[in-house]
């Protein structure tokens, strides 16, 4: 079945003269002109745009359209698109969007008002064989910048594909370009944030000969940007991922400062390590609360049916705590102290060397420093990991996890200095090990935290007894999952330390 074709029309497109010409060759029946509104959505990190999808709310329905060819993929009768996928009614569109959007909020990015002129194209029986739609659309942003888009849609009708192809040919002969662009691209001029302009993926264009300190500053500037970009989203409590991205950027900043100690003057490293450590620590509890709250459905599924609803008071408690914690964090982010830290940091990162002294270590070529640190970190992981047996204390796994994280950050910071395929391979292998260790740690922490929550529920109150029971059952369930993950460690580590991986690491980083 053919798909609807969308053509871009020039601003000076004369609809009537086009139609006059068109109708001499193809009889049409005009349908009443329709006024159509649309609101276009995407997440802060452009998840739909990145997948060439357009999500639009029309008067009474939500549509998911492929921006590659304008084909309608899913529709849903609904009067307004909810901010979160979990609030969509059970539907094909929700199923399709869930893995893409996950827990991010859908933001209104563009609005449109269009005049639609639909026409039916007829054959000699006066049967409709295709539809031609002319659309003149005024697009505007939330801050009122506007743009006009004129488009032509050619919609196929089942069973009349040959006719459709002929019509498509007729139109392309008129040199109207097929609209392959996403509406956000068409609206680039008026959008305040550029489509796909936000990504947390580290893709820093480093050159091997760059000074290590300059290279580090490049990376850190990118991270500072991420930190700043997410502040508003945290403040407005748009979704949980603003805080998450903020924290990851802080964590990466700290990691870089810690792992490349000698490239900056010790006063700088010392001071900012402390500042960012505090910043990370302050936001720990809020992030934990977010994660637990996102886990409610998962936890319910883990519980025996009888206790499933009894876990709810725990989440009500967590919601209350979260409200308090968010207010606290917002005070921190609005504080003079916070602005000062970031402003001085920014000055340091942008400064071309005169205001702050440099070190010998800083002037080394970044490739050398990168190789050295990565290789050293890798060897440490091998050493620590090999000591771990089935009976080793949990602590050793937690330490190994931290080591792996450090290596991962290094690989990501310096990814552009190394051949793409190889380094991606290594990152992928490392990720498998990290997933195992991360999962193990998650379960450990969850068990502990949940047991801690029990304290908040007074045993004397009979209502709380069921809740406490539910928490206990949850801890039990988590513990058995934890043990399963633990037993998979040996194999996972063996895979990571395979001869193949080892020779790749050695080849890329040992400098030999």
């Amino acid at each position: 079945m053919e798909k609807t074709l969308t053509f871009d029309l020039p601003r000076d497109f004369d609809g009537e003269s086009f139609l006059r010409e068109f109708t001499t060759a193809h009889p049409v029946k005009r349908e009443p002109v329709v006024n159509q509104t649309g609101v276009f959505y995407d997440t802060f990190d452009w998840r739909l745009y990145n997948k060439s999808l357009t999500l639009v709310q029309r008067q009474k329905e939500a549509l998911l359209i492929s921006s590659e060819n304008g084909a309608l993929m899913f529709s849903l009768n609904i009067s307004a698109i909810p901010a979160f996928i979990r609030d969509f009614p059970d539907s094909a569109i929700r199923e399709a969007l869930q893995p893409i959007i996950e827990m991010r909020a859908l933001l209104k990015l563009l609005q449109s008002r269009a005049q639609i002129m639909p026409l039916r194209i007829l054959n000699d029986d006066e049967k409709t064989i295709a539809r031609l739609v002319l659309s003149s659309e005024e697009i505007s942003t939330p801050d009122d910048r506007k743009l006009i888009l004129n488009r032509l849609f050619l919609e196929p009708l089942r069973g009349y594909e040959a006719d459709f192809r002929k019509l498509a040919g007729y139109i392309t002969d008129r040199s109207f370009p097929v609209a392959r662009q996403h509406i956000f691209d068409r609206a680039r001029k008026i959008l305040s944030r550029k489509p796909a302009g936000y990504s947390t993926r580290l893709n820093i264009p480093l050159e091997p000969e760059m000074r290590a300190d300059e290279a580090a500053k490049m990376i850190l500037r990118f991270l500072l940007n991420i930190i700043r970009e997410n502040e508003n989203g945290i403040h407005k409590d748009i979704d949980t991922e603003f805080l998450h991205d903020f924290r990851v950027a802080v964590r990466r900043t700290r990691s870089l400062l810690q792992q490349l100690k000698n490239i900056f003057p010790p006063e700088i490293t010392g001071r900012f390590r402390k500042d960012f450590a505090r910043l990370g620590k302050t936001t720990n509890w809020l992030r934990d609360l977010d994660v637990y709250l996102l886990s409610e459905t998962r936890y319910q599924a883990m519980l025996p049916e009888k206790l499933r609803f009894n876990i709810h008071p725990l989440f009500e408690y967590l919601q209350r705590e979260r409200k308090k914690e968010l207010r606290k964090i917002n005070r921190v982010l609005n504080s003079g102290e916070y602005s000062q830290i970031l402003n001085v940091w920014e000055r340091f990162l942008n400064d071309a060397a005169s205001e702050f002294p440099s070190t010998l270590g800083g002037s080394r070529p970044v490739l050398d420093v990168a190789r050295e640190r990565i290789y050293r970190r890798y060897r440490k992981i091998l050493k620590s990991g090999r000591k771990i047996t089935d009976n080793s204390p949990d602590e050793m796994l937690h330490s190994l996890r931290i080591e792996c994280k450090r290596l991962r950050y290094l690989l990501e910071f310096f990814t552009n200095l190394f051949p793409g395929d190889e380094i991606n391979r290594l990152i992928k292998q490392l990720k498998k090990l990290q997933d195992n260790l991360g999962l193990f740690q998650d379960f450990s922490v969850q068990e502990e935290t949940l047991m801690g929550f029990v304290e908040k529920f007074n045993l004397e109150n009979p209502e709380n007894r069921q809740t406490i029971l539910a928490i206990g059952a949850l801890v039990g369930s988590l513990d058995s999952e934890k043990r399963a993950v633990r037993s998979a460690f040996a194999n996972t580590f063996a895979n990571f330390t395979s001869a193949e991986n080892n020779s790749l690491f050695t080849e890329l980083f040992s400098g030999l």
Binding site: K127, R158, G159
Partner: protein, 251 residues
């Protein structure tokens, strides 16, 4: 997916008019609907302005699969597709006779529409051959229009007898009165008699209206062209009553 055959072995009772309008109403209600024209006269096909051509003919129809893909046409109306009939369908019986289990072939045909459609209506040819028996076996429900006259009733009784004899599910059959002329006392009496003595007789009636006859001129379902007309409203009522009765039934 629900399947409904509009059937009577007597011609000219308003089968196609009903099939066309009920299919339109099903589509309007949001159901992805397919109207399958099985009558070699291809009247339903004509009403929708589709050319009476089925690529690969009766043989192809029975083979199914890609043949449906190649022949299904979108009507001018949202959610409503048509599988056209052509003159070669007069050979469906002959073709079926040569197959194994000749009365069960339509089960497979209908199930191939499962994924794409919520409702399939069959506009049946006016005969009581193997094609008809296939239909009786395959569909969920059979809607039988009868003109409230003596002869028409006689045919209806013959149909019920046939069902009984061949052990088809009587519960599948629903009846409604078609081409009713309220002033005629024969019609009134017949309607009273049937309604009193038989089960599954729908209360909604389709009156004899020239608008319905003229559908052939306008070539569109009348519920689409004149939704407020009394003809349209009678089909609306029929559709609603049929759906509700079925829902009650299935509880």
């Amino acid at each position: 997916m629900n399947t409904l055959a509009i059937y009577h072995f007597k011609g000219g009772v308003g089968k196609t008019a009903a099939a066309v309008n009920l299919a339109y109403l099903a589509a309007q209600s949001g159901l992805r609907t397919l109207l399958c024209d099985l009558d070699p006269q291809s009247s339903a096909t004509y009403y929708f302005r589709v050319k009476p051509k089925f690529k690969a003919g009766a043989k192809g129809f029975l083979k199914g699969g890609q043949n449906f893909e190649k022949n299904i046409k979108g009507t001018d109306y949202k959610n409503l597709d048509l599988l056209p009939a052509d003159f070669s369908f007069r050979n469906l019986d002959l073709e079926l006779e040569q197959k194994k289990q000749p009365k069960q072939r339509f089960n497979r045909i209908l199930s191939s529409f499962n994924k794409e459609y919520d409702y399939v209506l069959l506009d049946c040819p006016p005969n009581i051959t193997i094609v008809a028996e296939n239909i009786f076996n395959a569909v969920d429900y059979i809607l039988v229009p009868i003109i409230p006259t003596t002869l028409s009733v006689r045919s209806y009784l013959q149909l019920l007898e046939f069902f009984k004899k061949k052990n088809y599910r009587r519960k599948k059959i629903f009846t409604f009165f078609s081409m009713v002329e309220g002033r005629k006392s024969l019609h009134k009496e017949t309607i009273e008699y049937i309604s009193a003595n038989f089960k599954r007789v729908l209360k909604s009636q389709i009156p004899y209206l020239s608008a319905i006859e003229r559908m052939g001129l306008r070539r569109e379902p009348l519920v689409a062209s004149s939704p407020g007309s009394s003809a349209a409203r009678s089909y609306q009522k029929l559709w609603t009553e049929l759906q509700e009765t079925i829902k009650q039934e299935e509880k």
